[in-house]
Symmetry: C2
Subunit: 316 residues, 2 copies
Amino acid sequence: MNNRHILALSGGVGGAKLADGLLHALDDAHLTIVVNTGDDFTHLGLHISPDVDTALYTLAGLANPETGWGRRDETWTFMDALARLGGETWFRLGDGDLATHVERTRRLAAGDPLSAITADLARRLGIRADIVPMSDQALRTRVHTDEGVFDFQDYFVRHQCRPVTRSIEFSLAPDTAPAPAVLTALADEALDAIVICPSNPYLSIAPLLAVPGLRARLRAARVPIVAVSPLVGGAAVKGPTAKIMAELGVPVCADEIVRYYGDLLDGFVLDVRDAHLRERIALPVHVTDTLMRTPQDRVRVARETLAFAARLTPRR
Amino acid sequence: MNNRHILALSGGVGGAKLADGLLHALDDAHLTIVVNTGDDFTHLGLHISPDVDTALYTLAGLANPETGWGRRDETWTFMDALARLGGETWFRLGDGDLATHVERTRRLAAGDPLSAITADLARRLGIRADIVPMSDQALRTRVHTDEGVFDFQDYFVRHQCRPVTRSIEFSLAPDTAPAPAVLTALADEALDAIVICPSNPYLSIAPLLAVPGLRARLRAARVPIVAVSPLVGGAAVKGPTAKIMAELGVPVCADEIVRYYGDLLDGFVLDVRDAHLRERIALPVHVTDTLMRTPQDRVRVARETLAFAARLTPRR
């Protein structure tokens, strides 16, 4: 296969792992990763973009393999000192991680768009892919639960996903639009495929699709769109996907995710442990082991996904 | 002597050392340290109060004895990560130090006055003295030099005091006033003395005296005011005091500092190496070794200064 430009949609850890695999599988081809910013929030006066940072650190080889968030070789002097000063410590910010937030916040305050700042950070970290926040405007994911309405990080980190989800809301400004680089990538004649990474569809990919115009632009690109299942054997590899599906009254099955994405998809990569669900999916399906434990796993899943997409014809 | 309440005016390192000595010399008495904020600046989007921090860290026993600024047991992961991201690194911010700046900036943005924030930080750090920024409004020291006009930290840190000083300007907002706690302390019936610490008179104490109303309030307190000489043998212990005096065309002599403070002083603590200047000073003088190399030195200079002040009658 001779891919020229691949666009990936990604949330946090699982998505970043496949994006990393894509980067290594693609050799000279161009990779654009559009990242969820619905989880962004202001904490301690700093603008934090958790999924963008996970993408930056993962693709720069700086990610912390133990935690699944933050940087490796991290120190925690700031957090210890902040605790002594009575500051908020429920959201753990490592000393090196902090540099990203401080620099981003400084530049946002100076009027630079999030996408331009992210592009510069990626360049400084030597990342060969384009990492693009889905929008330069704020679209915030809010989780309605039996214990109240929470901003995403409040739900995810402070309350550790414990409250029962009733519904998910995307709160956005009237001028919210896809970041310019998203539109440029989607208009690229060399674009060969769109890959929806194995991130939480409801919490991480849904905000992307809620950016006005973005879903329609994906379909209008007229290239195959494939999603890689975030479920493995009917369970989420990490995070609350399965818990949220259950709480929303949806069967915790990979075919339900295909149904959720609806007419967006041209093909679906199903985990081998869920192969029995194949006949329930009315789309081309590729079955493989989607679990990415090692860097080699990432590249293998990426290669198979790209080869699968290359065999597909977009429905539109 | 039975001191009940002492008020000290302080700039950075030298001032903080004497303040620390005063705290340990005073036992149960009350100590209020009014600190210069003319050096405050916004850096990386963070509000930094260098002299307030030096006071906080010194009195909390957290100061870095090697550098004279910042905290001991510090790590530098933030700075290294920021350098990699292309951020500004001329002002070194340690990981633990950063907690102070982030927490202060967050609270200022929330509308809390600098003096209330400082009081809380001091309390959290277990400091028994009141550390009060001279004003809750911005009064900024600007150094006019042969190479242009610089904000203080720009001159002091980035340009390492190299440019030749022509004059010093204090830029202030029309509503600039002493912080409320300064006025409360000066109105305290129990106030026994005011000590001007051995800080740079032109750069560190002058901004304090430039806060509208503050100099008059000091005189109106009707307690002895004594200054401890920042010069030792005609040279500054640390910092650019002697260099600036020379550049401003002023003889680099302790008696010149007495002249500079003018009718504010009731007495002067002169270093033993400058004892020959005694007859040039038309005020009560106490001669001692003012060099504070050890914690014991700090307490000894503090005790001698307090005993000296106790013998004085305010001129007003």
